[in-house]
Amino acid sequence: MSKLLRAAYRIAWKDVVGDWRRRATLSSMLFFAIAVLVVFQVAFDPDRLEATRLLPGLLWVTILFTSLMGLGRVFQAEEEDGALEGLLLSAVPRGVLFLGKWSGNLLLTLLVELALLPLTLVLFNVDVWGQLPAIVGILLLGTLGLTGLGVLLAAMTQTARSRETLLALLLLPLTAPLLIAGVQALAALLQPGGEVEPWLRLLVIFDLVYLALAPWAFGWLVTE
């Protein structure tokens, strides 16, 4: 068991270290997120009150687009010199391979979110600093399911023509529950008397379903 976890950890380690050494995904995701924020500001030009109302949707839309960018690259690393074949020839179950790829992507996405969050609050001049831990918690819950489903879809579209577009086409409708629950949970948190709990439950259900289903689905997908 610990050996299997070690194998999953090694895959995640390889992806994160590779990203760090090449300064590839992390930095471009971050700059892309900032660009999205600027676009929002220019397009809507919200005042302070509007900004607080818009914040939940704005955060999630930025996260969704930014994570699409990271997901497009998750399996690019395995195209190098038959690396995916190497993974599939290893002695661990396919679900463990998925777990490794997923946790690597989860870590990168969370890092980007942690940088993005304070930046958004500063740029949009929204004072919800007291709620910060709760906001981070909601983002974390949403990101678990988002990256779980996303990594699976990335594996599915890896060899497809115009895969980035296809990935967006598949991911956006399937994450609709996540977007609804994530936005509503944040909105309920930020307004007095809002009910957060039902939305948190929906987020947890989504996470559990995908984390249970995705490793199996990955196995079916790669077994020729």
Binding site: L152, T159, L169, P173, L174, A176, P198, L202
Partner: protein
């Protein structure tokens, strides 16, 4: 299976046509609704079409699961065909709902929970088609679409409930969606006949589409073999 389809699709076609004509005659001769007027007649298309959309997806899920389990090509052919059939019924559901909505709501579209779910379903069907087209290797395409179909089957109920919660908890529905109307009494016989007609129509479309898919694949195989032989 395909041979069986070839033999029977003519019979199914005639049965579909007869039931559909009977159903339409019943729909047009039924009295207009005292509240909705003639617009209610659209529901006789809208409701069976919506049922068939979901039934197509159910069928797709079963075919996909069977393909992943047994890895036999006929299941994949059925899956590919049911995506097209399902997309057609879903598009019809949305179009008829929208036509119904114009006189009833005064707008072509409202973010009603059921319509929103149907829209997501249509995008999912489109995604399944796009994924199959985008993958060069037919085996990989078969596996990927089968897995996606199963993920969708798990996701659709979650999508539906989240949309319902969103529309009800967030802002209470100001008007009922087209599918929520209850139909009783005189209006029941035409609906029943139309439902049967749509089931037959779905079966016929599935048979014809499966034959087309099978024929196209056979032709592609021949073409590859011809190319391989001419290259030695």
């Amino acid at each position: 299976m395909i041979k069986w389809f070839s033999k029977w699709h003519g019979v199914v076609f005639v049965a579909t046509l007869l039931t559909l004509l009977t159903g339409l005659w019943l729909v047009l001769s039924a009295p207009a609704d005292y509240q909705q007027g003639d617009a209610v007649r659209i529901l006789y298309i809208h409701v069976p079409a919506a049922k068939m959309s979901l039934l197509s997806y159910l069928f797709l899920t079963v075919a996909s699961g069977m393909y992943l389990w047994r890895r036999q090509e006929p299941w994949d052919i059925l899956a590919e065909a049911s995506v097209s059939v399902g997309a057609a019924f879903t598009a019809l559901t949305l179009a008829s709902g929208s036509i119904w909505g114009k006189p009833m709501w005064g707008a072509w579209w409202a973010w009603d929970a059921r319509l929103t779910s149907m829209l997501v379903l249509l995008i999912l069907f489109m995604g399944l088609m796009a994924l199959r087209n985008a993958l060069e290797d037919p085996h990989k395409a078969a596996r990927a679409t089968a897995v996606l179909a199963i993920i969708g089957a798990v996701d659709l109920p979650i999508i539906h409930y989240s949309v319902v919660w969103w529309r009800t908890l967030h802002q209470p529905p100001s008007f009922a969606g087209p599918a929520k109307q209850t139909i009783t009494g005189d209006l029941l016989p035409p609906l029943l006949v139309m439902s049967v007609a749509f089931i037959l129509l779905g079966a016929w479309l599935l048979m014809v589409k499966s034959r087309e898919v099978a024929a196209r694949r056979a032709w592609e195989t021949l073409e590859t073999e011809r190319l391989e032989q001419s290259h030695g």
